[in-house]
Assembly symmetry: C2
Homo-oligomer: 375 residues x 2
């Protein structure tokens, strides 16, 4: 029976003597949303109500409640999975969702990354080292400025150039014009490359599933092979459907609207978004503009890459105020199956951007060699 | 210029002497995501970077930062609005989004409720009193059980019968079979009504925009005129598009995945979801299973109904563990332009469900009359 259940671990911030009762209330809230005494159907009580497997007091005074949710309630809809895991409970202040283990059959229906670590390496020719990425900023720029920026970044040998996640279909650089110009810039740079590598350009998708499909179709016709999506903005069902409908494309997930921890970042970004189709997952690295603890960042990377039945590993993308000066530290911390994303810290070089981008690439290559020697 | 800006008020939980700097960092984070010093385009600095209008220290030690975001960055995409308002900042623990004022032109592009308070009254024939609603529970039930429940609720004269928000396309009661049976049950009851009223059945939509479109088309062919959607699960762009594509339908918004307050509930549920197309917005009432303060609940109801240029008022739907015994209190608190949603507290009556549903309806009618007399 366990194979048919989604196993979820919640942290309850209630006095220890109330934890068992809170766990039972949580099990009802995240399944049938009514008192068990009001249920007439015995099958529902036996098979559909979430089961409390155990409640463990923690040293910090909280408790961990291990629940088993019925897979029947979820079907194979990623949105419905989030709804059943944490829909109503997201409104509560005393509970967070810490871990999720999907039945292998469900994870395989979601499908996971199309390319994963090895696939993105194959597409970019980046082997034996971490990967490099920058973001096209700022929103409000003209298409010409973005194309020039893309040309410089690709010319410096960056593996990935992605739209800033604030890009939608703005008048200053509408999707179609932006994508056409930036992919052309990448194509031009790739033709000149002599090291066997090539840059991928990842435009940002916006709107609903139908609008994103149109954007993908347009971009694919221009040679684009990957996309940036913010699954918590567009909805995870949309994200999962796009990944399954475009199995030859790379999807990078952005954490916008992911919240400050009620959905634990390793679980949400590392386990779930990977399961739904993220080849790479961006997260705010410690020591930047955001406040994730180092331990949280490590756990995200671990969850993104850990073995999972039938699902490829994803690339963690530490970001959010990183700098070229920190490259060696980041590569040593996360290892080479990592994408280093540096945006503003390249652009601050202004007319020295090309040199700064080349220094970024050189630092990552050097760090990769150092790790290989050390290993 | 103010007319072109989205005005957003954030609460900063930082020491007062850091609030001004935090507000400036927030303005960059929620617009160009890079240091202003790295921007080469003067127009971007002048027109695209979010502007800090003022920062006000509060008695509790927090500060309110009033920002003006460029409408150009947002276009008319509801998802992009959330992204620009709080995408990255949702990852921060020291900031919450308290209030949003949309430029009238943008609110009108989003379009607001199709029917609003008066329209839902016209469709149901519910006048001079609050409206009644129940939810079809529990998930896992058979289609026959749900149809019987619907028949009983509609027979008792409830104005609205909605799917529980846990319903998707489960095998125990697939969408098509469930909707056909429940709408038939409502139609049968409506034929028998002699008081000029009629019950609306609102099925729950799941998946992405294309899947929801198919569900809506199927349901409309069976006579369904309204739907339940969880916009934070499916994405607000999807929700807004559906509301605009089906202008004769009623949309009730469920707060699943709305979070525990970082997006302030009056702003999110009352202002934004109403703007995106919610005719009615469910929220967890105080004194039930959830922990919203009474003041928060009042503010949600006020935001849902306050005058807003070119946008209809929406019906607040206090819910989450309400009981028939609290009807008079709830109607006196919220007034009659309110939907009372009672689920489990009806079902707990088991074989006395019909009588309990009739008592609910009678209590709301009586409370409405009492208010009318008092007014």
């Amino acid at each position: 029976m366990t194979d048919d259940r989604v196993l979820a671990t919640y942290r309850l911030r209630v006095p220890a003597d109330q934890a068992a009762g809170r766990a039972e209330a949580l099990a009802l809230e995240q399944s049938i949303e009514m008192p068990a005494a009001a249920v007439l159907d015995e099958r529902v009580l036996r098979e559909v109500v979430a089961r409390v497997d155990r409640v463990e007091p923690q040293p910090d005074g909280s408790s961990l409640a291990h629940l088993a949710l019925s897979a029947e309630s979820i079907g194979s809809d990623a949105g419905q999975l989030l709804n059943m895991l944490f829909g109503n409970s997201s409104l509560h202040t005393d509970v967070t969702l810490e871990q999720v283990a999907l039945p292998p059959a469900l994870a395989q229906r979601f499908g996971g990354p199309n390319h994963g670590v090895a696939g993105v390496r194959a597409l970019t020719g980046a082997h034996g080292r971490a990967l490099t990425c920058t973001a096209l900023k700022p929103i409000g720029s003209t298409v010409d400025a973005l194309a020039a920026l893309t040309r410089t970044a690709a010319g410096a040998g960056l593996d990935l150039v992605k739209d800033d996640h604030g890009w939608a279909d703005q008048t200053s650089a509408p999707f179609d014009a932006r994508v056409t110009a930036c992919q052309t810039a990448v194509d031009d740079a790739n033709v000149r490359r002599r090291d066997g590598g090539r840059t991928l350009y990842l435009p940002s998708l916006s709107g609903h599933h139908g609008q994103m499909q149109r954007q993908i179709e347009f971009a694919r016709q221009r040679g684009v092979q990957g996309f940036l999506v913010a699954p918590m903005v567009c909805g995870v069902a949309t994200f999962n459907a796009l990944a399954r409908e475009h199995r030859d494309c790379v999807f990078m997930a952005h954490p916008a609207l992911a919240g400050a921890g009620a959905l634990a970042p390793p679980m949400l970004l590392g386990t779930l978004l990977r399961s739904f189709g993220a080849d790479a997952v961006i997260f705010p690295n410690h020591g930047g503009r955001f406040s994730y603890a180092q331990q949280t960042c490590q756990a995200i990377a671990e969850a993104a890459r850990r073995p999972m039945a039938g699902i490829r590993p994803a690339l963690p993308v530490p970001a959010g105020g990183m700098s070229v000066e920190r490259v060696t530290e980041i590569v040593h911390e996360y290892g080479t199956d990592t994408v280093l994303l540096i945006g503003g810290s390249l652009l601050i070089a202004r007319d020295q951007l090309a040199q700064r981008a080349e220094a970024f690439v050189a630092a990552v290559h050097a760090a990769g060699n150092a790790s290989a020697v050390a290993a």
